[in-house]
């Protein structure tokens, strides 16, 4: 019981007595301790300022999901087409379903078991960018997506995840593209681009330095790129390489100033296991969003490839473009991502 407490209990008005020596030393030690801790803490957290703090390793980031060895028999680029209708056949629809075309194309590549191993977590990355319905051909055809999921499961995948970072409201894009329903029906896990799934990563590309990345798309054993081939007013044509815009969060609008380099950066970052390009219905103009069904044309075609550059080089011919008009293809070729001369690959038409 200190003298202070005692005096308080007695209720005396003024107390001039000194504290005991023990109490005085205790108080001094307490003050010095707090001061010392504050000084030590401030020293540890001392920020000397300046702009050179954030510089880190300048290593280009790559997510490589490719299969290391490919045998020489199977195709490197497979084009599956629905057979033309016989003369006088006015029935609506095509002579093959999208699923049949996907199966034929992947079979020509050696079958899905060449790409997906038992127990793999497979990410299927379609284009679900826009609030458009399948007839507008702005998003990947849901039947094509469902067929790829089925093939992956047949090859023994543990889990197939479908995800994309949409441009319009994601809920609306996923539902109205028909992909949510189709993918769910065949047992895939559909992941919407919710905020907490993005992590900032340093890509170290030429224009893409630090960006929020949709982690669901990169946390996988195998990644299958399932783009749709369509017109794009700025890039002129978009399919496999530009489909990786979907892994980016943040304000990706500023990438358009240098759209070709950013596409090449992204395609350098993401090296998929397989590309299955949907050309069932192709948007010929007013891309990438379309909106008028007259802008799209039925082509009833699916292209599979292990080479993103070749897939795009072939795909752009569908809307009447030439690979040499698309600078990002040349950049990709220069960076060793693939070849723009798709004819030089083992091409199989099925």
């Amino acid at each position: 019981m200190s003298s202070r407490d005692k005096s308080a209990s007695e209720g005396s008005a003024v107390d001039t007595s000194k504290p005991t020596r023990r109490e005085a030393i205790g108080r001094l030690a307490g003050a010095l301790g707090v001061l010392g801790a504050a000084a030590a803490g401030a020293r540890v957290l001392w920020d000397r300022g300046g702009y050179d703090v954030a510089l880190s390793s300048a290593v280009r980031q790559v997510r490589d999901y490719r299969i290391a060895e490919r045998d020489g028999q199977h195709a490197e680029l497979a084009v599956a087409r629905a057979a033309p209708k016989e003369v006088g056949d006015d029935s609506p629809g095509a002579t093959a379903t999208p699923e049949q075309l996907v199966r034929r194309a992947v079979e020509a590549m050696g079958g899905m078991s060449k790409f997906v191993s038992r127990g793999d977590v497979v990410v299927v990355k379609p284009n679900i960018g826009w609030d458009r319905m399948p007839i507008h051909a702005a998003n990947t055809n849901p039947d094509v997506v469902a067929a790829v999921i089925k093939l992956a499961y047949e090859a023994g995948a543990k889990k197939v995840v479908v995800a994309d970072g949409s441009c319009n409201d994601p809920n609306r894009c996923f539902q109205r593209s028909g992909i949510w329903r189709a993918a769910y029906a065949v047992g895939a896990e559909v992941v919407l681009p919710q905020e907490h799934r993005f992590r900032t990563m340093r890509l170290k590309g030429d224009v893409l330095d630090e960006w929020p990345i949709f982690t669901t798309l990169v946390d996988a054993d195998k990644v299958i790129n399932v783009p749709i081939a369509k017109h794009h007013n700025l890039a002129k044509f978009t399919a496999a390489m530009k489909n990786w815009y979907g892994v980016l969060g943040g304000r990706r609008n500023r990438l358009h100033q240098n759209i070709d380099t950013s596409i090449a950066d992204l395609a350098t970052f993401m090296r998929p296991t397989l590309v299955v390009m949907d050309a069932w219905r192709v948007l010929m103009r007013n891309g990438p969003q379309g909106g008028n069904i007259d802008d799209a044309r039925d082509m009833h075609m699916v292209v599979a490839s292990v080479d993103q550059v070749a897939a795009d080089s072939f795909g752009c011919t569908l809307i009447g473009q030439k690979p040499e008009n698309l600078p990002y293809l040349a950049m990709g070729e220069k960076r060793g991502l693939g070849t723009t001369r798709w004819e030089t690959l083992r091409v199989r038409q099925v």
Binding site: D131, M133, H196, R251, P288
Partner: protein
Amino acid sequence: MTQPHGHQHAGVSLARDVRALGPPETHVEVEPIPWKTGRVGMVAALDRPTGGGGPNLVTGASPAAVAPAPAGAAAAAATSAAAASAPSKRGSRLSGSGIPPRQIAVILKWARRVCQVGFLALFLYFLFQTGFRGSFAARADAPVRLPLPVEAFLLADPFVGAMTVLSTHTVYRGLLWSVGLLALTMVFGRVFCGWICPFGTLHHFFGWLLPSKQGRGAARVEANKTHTYQRAKYYLLYAFLVAGVAGSAIGGLFDPICIAVRSIGLGVIPGLQYLSHRALGAAQDVHSRAVQGVADQTQDFLAQTVWQSKQFYFHQTWFIVFLLVAVLFANRFIPRFWCRVLCPLGAFLGVFSRFALFGMTKDHAKCTDCNLCLVHCQGADSPQGGVKWRQDECHMCMNCENACPEDVIKFTFLPNRRSTVLVPDTQRRTALAAMGAGAMFLPTARVADALDVNYHPKVIRPPGAVEERAFLERCIRCAECMKVCPNNALHPAFFEAGVEGLWTPILIARIGYCEYSCVLCGQVCPTGAIQKITEKEKMGQGQAPIKIGTAFYDHGRCLPWSMQTPCIVCEEFCPTSPKAIWVEEVDATVRESTPGPDGAPPAYKTVHLQRPHVDPSLCIGCGACEKVCPVQDQPAVYITSVGETRSKTNVILLENTNYNQRT
């Protein structure tokens, strides 16, 4: 220690002093309670507006009294003495005579609690569901609608119904349900306030949670007596209804359901989402798989059930939240301050509760003035003996009957009304003055600026909104449209739309654009300020599309126009077909940034560019271009309200100025 003890501690409360003096003298006979006339249910000359309590015998305070209130101390002392001698059914927990409440009253009290929790939960669930979450089961061509009537509480709100009836002379669609709530009030009085209202339940909860030490006991009894300041809500109601007649639904600012949706939907939920994103995001960085997994799954769950699809921000919403916090904090001083003093919906129901078939009878003769009823009273409606019960203030919470140990209070159907005041205790002159203020509000607000040329070119109303005057007649600022908007495009206006347009929805395209195929704001609008349009009407299939404004380019800031840099993200996002933004292919000269060799002037080169233009006859003003423009701080393309379909005057193109043309 020269002074005597008592002087030294003058601040110590009297009660403690009293206790220090030792046990009180036993009171066998209390001061006679004047209304104990023996005539059951009668009040003779005692129609005082507020409960005065018994004679204030401080020295009679007993430590055993449940309510340590000086005001009720005498009675409490007497009743506790009685309780000690008389055998009580439920032991010493009950004070006074210890007569337990009727079983039906206990049941009703618990039913009320269940109702309150249930309706608050339902309200919050509807609020969480006020937003399109998509479905794996829906077909691609299924129209996007909310599966639940998330605006149901507003549709059942007769104050909203009455206000819009007065301003528009119609009952808009689902607002017909508000007649149901009126019918409920005609039978049971203000049960809505005590049993249903989610905002009232919040106040009930905070009134229970918050009182300070000074807000308990005697102070609480005093606070729960009927006060004249409770008239304020009636004056507010009259002012708002007259403002409605004049043509403004400004009363929505004070509607409790509107406040609840607005402040929780625009403030509390986004704020908690921000907090949770930060906290769980930090948890995801912890190097422990278990912590990461739990954090991840929690985020998934919350994202799919509670949160908006992304972090939403609402223009100047701090003020909305500040008012919510202020009015909740007021419970610390006056329990249910909002419900008793300000709520115009409560006042509206209070006016109609005079017709209620259900009500209270009091047996004044039995009242011992213990004030336990007042301790628990929600509405401050004078449940205690000796004064008349105020039916228009009562929330029908049944607490008083449950608290009463003397069998004074009974709620029954068709009670005698001898000790009941049915009508609000308002003063005619003040009421007339309030009505006058309500009538003057609109002209005052309207002459402050010219409505026809718009207060601000950025007052862009949601698609399907009616013409501005009709809009202000209908918009109750409930913020349902802002909550449901998938892109965070709609915001509560601060003073952009004038003082009259406070918290009405405006579109801020820089934060979010109007989603092309979305008609959800009209679906949830309870009053038809935004009409329930279809996708076909909005996008203009087979008819003219609904325009909310027009886009303009600022060539000085546009990359292809002034900086010879390719861009056209605006064109890419333009949703109309054909696109309202078209590009002109040009070869432009641009100077190199670096000087030539040997200090030569920088070389010039030619770049191929696409320069965007707007076709004003195709532009719908959705603002997607403004949203995505990469010129971050002040966009190079922006929308203003000119050309909006709803206005016959706010037009640019001659072809749209034909007044006879159906737009």
